[in-house]
Amino acid sequence: MATHAAHAEHAHAPQAFIWKYVFSKDHKVIGIQYYVTAMLMALVAGLLAMLIRVQLAWPEKDYTWLGKIFPMGYDVGGGFGVMRPEFYAMLFTMHGTIMVFFVLSTAPVSGFGNLLIPLQVGARDMAFPFLNGLSYWTFLPGCLVILASFFVESGAAAGGWTSYPPLSALKGAVPGSGTGQTMWIIGMVFFIASFTMGGLNFVTTILNLRTKGLSMFRLPLTMWAMFLVAILGLLAFPALVAACIMLVFDRHYGTSFFIPAQIALNNVPLLTQAGTPLHQGGSPLLWQHLFWFLGHPEVYILMLPALGFTSDILSTFSRRPIFGYKSMVLAMCGIGFLSFIVWGHHMFVSGMSPYLGMAFAVGTILIAVPSAVKVFNWLATLYRSRIRFTTPMLWAMGVISLFISGGLSGVWLAQAGPDIHLHDTMFVAAHFHLIMAGAALFGVFGATAYWFPKMFGRLMSEPLGKVHFWFTFITYYGTFFPMHYIGIAGHMRRIYDPYQYEFLKPLQPINELITMSALILGASQIIFFVNFFWSAFKGKKAGENPWEANGLEWTTQSPPPHGNWPGEIPEVHRWPYEYSNPDAPRDHVMQHEPAGAAAGH
């Protein structure tokens, strides 16, 4: 009877196209909407990166042809096209902003979080489906505002993705500090509002809607990651909203949160018509504190889902229980907690007291310990396993690789002693592209291949997926690994023409190598988009459980119907990592199988 009741309740899925696929309240549709939007934003931000790399490798070449495509970006007078420095500033500002917030926070968290949370905890939908739909329709205007800002007269924001005042607070500071910066702020506020709605849904759903028998310590590690990420977002993002609102007041209503007295712009002191100071008593460092209070937890918002996906994928394809489940959970909690007390490591050269600096350095370097635990636990999971080299497994091993290579350079930057020389150099760019961007990106690619059946009911092409992986893996390192070296040599970030500097001229061949690698990396992503759209419509049909995995999401159809399970929601009897139990008839025992199926864990 209960089966019928539950079924009837959810049989009334909206039938009209607009309610089913556009203004949907179904978590799976919303997840896919988020995911696809983020991937389209990634195309834009990736294109900006290509232009940055071309400029850094060959600033002296003739770019008349690019000037035809981007008339605002190049001076083409006299038959010779040169990139404008303000366009370069806009490129790195918008590349960073879009990638960090609108791609790498969105695809893993809002995309896969929405898709997977109800499926993995055994719920019909998120706790607040309307709020969930609203969150996507708040996110989309944010994207549109950000994209539209490229087309306003003075161009998009150009104050760096960190938007440090006074550069971002004074409208005349750089061309993008006018309308472009205003739109940046509006876009960010939309984004944060949507992320907050999502976070409330995540926490509520994971705490309250778990199916019978699913205790917190039986959750897949992906769910733990989503739970922590939502908490981090809810606690950290308000600091940036507050900062953005203060910035709006400074820019438009004459307050002085971030602008001190006696400041001049382009040699003109900022005075009122009466000759009194326009601003008094603000501090640009206040923004840095507020921004990084968000900014550091934010990088773990990007990272933790990838670590969760990796654990799940690794366990499935090595046919082994995840090694040290509880310490994996503790490690993620530890990383999440520490992320709130380390923001000052972004400000070691800003003149902070050295004792305060050392407090931030202690917190930061302690993150190495839970991170090491995670890596060694993954290695122990692989040890004496039986690995199936599917595409998701390759991406998961890619995440491990990036987590180590990017994480070890974090040890350098965590300490003020070594950081002071490396601060604001390409070494920093190398570090965060490997760990934060790379691991998050590889995690998303792995998750896409792994959970594709639950998105579209089909499998992605394995050959295309593997080709895409190897191209991406090799060129990713080709692009970002040499940046460590040029950073130590003193090559700074955010410089429009490195070869104005005598001592950077010998580094041009390395910059050329990096750019060629980056161009191949960018082009390789075409394989992914082809694979994605081809497989979504023509891929091999996946059954309920194509990977022989254990989680609840594999107990229903692919793709799951509205309400997720046609019948009753399954009851849970064990954790999701019961692989290769010698007493069980199969090499995997699913979470919902009754206790008799195996000696449970």
Partner: protein, 330 residues
């Protein structure tokens, strides 16, 4: 000098050697763990690939002893890194007492330098070899960062605030100076150089421009010209607090707090006098914002620093009376 790829950037300060020793340790450590884990991943990937569909590996759920091992060992290693780095960091913050002082103002897009003896330079800084040099940095507009790769020294120059850095050059020569903090459209053109000279050559360079006035003397003249002296007198029941011997002392404020009279406080009291009013005085001082430049503020601060307790205001400034270049390059 920079033919081909340098394996490591040039070392030209006492600090550079300390930083590089730590770098070599970190490189060794990073290489060791990268290779160790890399070989394990690749080795496991080859050795433990699935050979037949029914192959079933042993089920291992965890091992407390192993997990404690790889918690405690990294903890020990990061402790070593922390203490070593802290030592390097603190040494960069401990300015030697005998350092010569240089004041630097960053603006878009140049560095303006004033020596304590009055010489001014733009986008160049002449210093003697083997002598510690203390930099006091500030900015007229946005945030800049003073970066000398060969010295491994970098410090932000912030508007309305003084930051300090120091170095001791070890080799005569010309070294690159950059702005490392993105500061606007022409950020990458904000280039300068540090000229490190033998002490004798440095003295000759100092004397080269003819007689000039020291920073503190210039400040004293400004103090008269701006009529600061009418209120800030030592003798009377003056309208403004006396400044003799003020520098470095705690000051009681009207709102009950106290503040140490450092460079940043003195600067703020000139441009925003009502921000921190001294106890017992009325907030009647007008702002000098827009009337004095950042360089002049540094001169005034140098003058206030030079005022010794109970000495008459006209007392000799502490700066050596070396002849200086008056007509500093603009």
């Amino acid at each position: 000098m920079w033919s081909g790829f340098p394996l490591f950037p040039e070392q030209a300060s006492t600090h550079a050697g300390r930083v590089d020793a730590l770098y070599f340790f970190l490189i060794a450590l990073t290489a060791f763990f990268s290779l160790l884990i890399g070989f394990m991943v690749i080795g496991f990937a080859i050795r433990y690939r699935r050979r037949s569909p029914d192959d079933r590996p042993p089920a291992i759920y965890g091992s407390l002893a192993l997990e404690l091992t790889w918690t405690i060992i990294p903890l020990g290693i990061v402790a070593v890194i922390f203490f070593w780095s802290a030592d390097v960091y603190l040494s960069l913050n401990r300015v030697p007492k005998d350092a010569i002082e240089v004041h630097v103002v960053g603006k878009r897009w140049m560095w303006k330098v004033q020596h304590i003896t009055g010489q001014r330079e733009i986008n160049e800084l002449h210093v003697p070899v083997g002598v510690p040099v203390k930099l006091t940095l500030t900015s007229e507009d946005v945030i800049h960062s003073f970066f000398i790769p060969a010295f491994r020294v970098k410090k932000d120059a912030l508007p309305a605030r003084y930051t300090t850095a120091w170095f001791q050059a070890t080799k005569p020569g010309r070294y690159h100076l950059f702005c490392a903090e993105y500061c606007g459209t022409r950020h990458s053109n904000m280039i300068g150089s540090i000229v490190v000279m033998e002490p004798a050559a440095f003295q000759a360079w100092l004397a080269g421009g003819g007689p000039g006035v020291s920073l503190a003397s210039a400040g004293e003249k400004l103090f008269q010209d701006l009529a600061c002296v009418t209120c800030h007198k030592a003798d009377s029941g003056a309208r403004g607090p006396a400044l003799d011997g003020l520098f470095g002392r705690p000051v009681a404020l009207a709102d009950g707090g106290t503040v140490t009279a450092d460079e940043t406080y003195i600067r703020e009291s000139i441009v925003a006098p009502s921000a921190k009013v001294v106890a017992g005085y009325q907030p009647i001082m007008p702002t000098f914002q827009g009337l004095v430049s950042e360089e002049q503020l540094l001169q005034l601060v140098a003058y206030v620093r030079s005022l010794k307790a109970k000495a008459p205001a006209a007392g000799a400034p502490p700066a050596p009376p070396v002849a200086a270049a008056p007509g500093a390059r603009p």
